[in-house]
Amino acid sequence: MSGVFVKTVVSADQLGRTIVRISHEILEKDQDPGQLALVGIHTRGAHLAHRLAKLIEQFTGREIAVGELDISLYRDDVAARGSLTVRSRLAQPEIKGTNLPFGIDDMTIVLVDDVLFTGRTIRAAIDALFDYGRPSCIQLAVLVDRGHRELPIRPDFVGKNLPTSQDERINVRLSEVDGKDEIVLEATREEVES
């Protein structure tokens, strides 16, 4: 018998603490908040970027630039998956595109995403950023690194390493979109152990 195996691997409390830790790590590495900007990848990465920025503002008392990046037009699988992306975005009540309300030239940009998997999204995001300017450096913060990279991309800040198999799925749920915070592992198994 086959079944879907679902397990909460990170609770709301743990997730909150993880985000706090990442914000400290960013500050530790990038000491000048004036040169720092967080850019979240739609959809959940954007919410994470705003949470991180809020925390960093609390710690430093200084405002942090935050933007959102939509990478649909930069995907390497436009033909095969593009339409799915279009439809999934249109299914959202309030669809938003890229919004970078600041110049990115000479800034330290921390890209923020929820799950790092193949690395292709990050490749697309880096390409997209370069069409908006020339940052002095780009770093990467992810809540989950689940492995299986297909490109030479490595994160600078990782919330949690969750080794997975290809057919497993990591779902990051955030209260802003999903009503609650948690990270869930989903797998289709041929046999479910009792």
Partner: protein
Amino acid sequence: MNRHLLSMNDLDREDIESLLATARVDFLDLSKRDIKKVPTLRGRTVIDLFYEKSTRTSTSFELAGKRLSADVINVKADSSAVGKGESLKDTTLTLNAYRPDIIVIRHPHVGAAAFVARFTEAHVINAGDGMGEHPTQCLLDIFSLQQEFGELGGLKVAIVGDVLHSRVARSNIIGFQKMGMKVTLVAPPALLPRGVEALGAGVANSLDALEDMDVIYLLRMQKERHEDANYLPSMREYIARYQVGLEHLGGGRKVLHPGPINRGVEISAALADSGENLILQQVEAGLAVRMAIMYRIIVDNAAAAVEAAGETTAGASEAEVKNIHAVG
């Protein structure tokens, strides 16, 4: 989107909303960047095949293709083998041998775009076929109205002028009604097509009807298509009875015109020069909307082909839709 965009009948309201959302979210702000280009259609080929004079439609299609990184070739009938007597079918077959991904066609005869679609594997976009249709103009008009009014349902629009010769009017009568707008045609009887009521629009023969309207959509007086008959007793009389000016505005009423305008004929110079019309917003919208059309005609059909080939395992697509941003 379907395989081709030939008529506004090819789209339902949901398709229109979805397409224009793409234009708004992905493409409207692109022109405000320093780098006005995205790599989305890199390596694709677009052929713009124009058998009629055009400024805004041909430039905006060319720019739209280039800003999507496609390779764009413009073929103008007056400087091509067409002048040597080549038929539309043979021209299409010749161009098709270059394996273009999209052919944009503007032609003086009704049905030309559908005809071209029979002889090519490319996606065909109708950029105006004689007195037939001009769907991309209609889509950019709907987009401009959405930007101005938000929800369009219940909005009252008068389409004023040379309805008889206007492909824009034909597409807009179809498209505006799909969006839930109430359409009234305002023109002298000689400039209304016979049996136009069958399209569902109301008819009026005087500008008094504008009093009640939210939108005035002006059409160009197509004098070049008047040579076969006398449609009007005199242009002077037409101007006296049907020219729209600032005096017809008020109550938040907005004026649109597909261009090019005949200043002093269907539109007064004062209205043309005032900030009360949306003509330049329409031009700006045209670029974003045409980018969205080219993008969606490629990606929607490619995804449909993948699904048809069974490469997407059953059930996976819905999960993918939900998690598309989570898995990358």
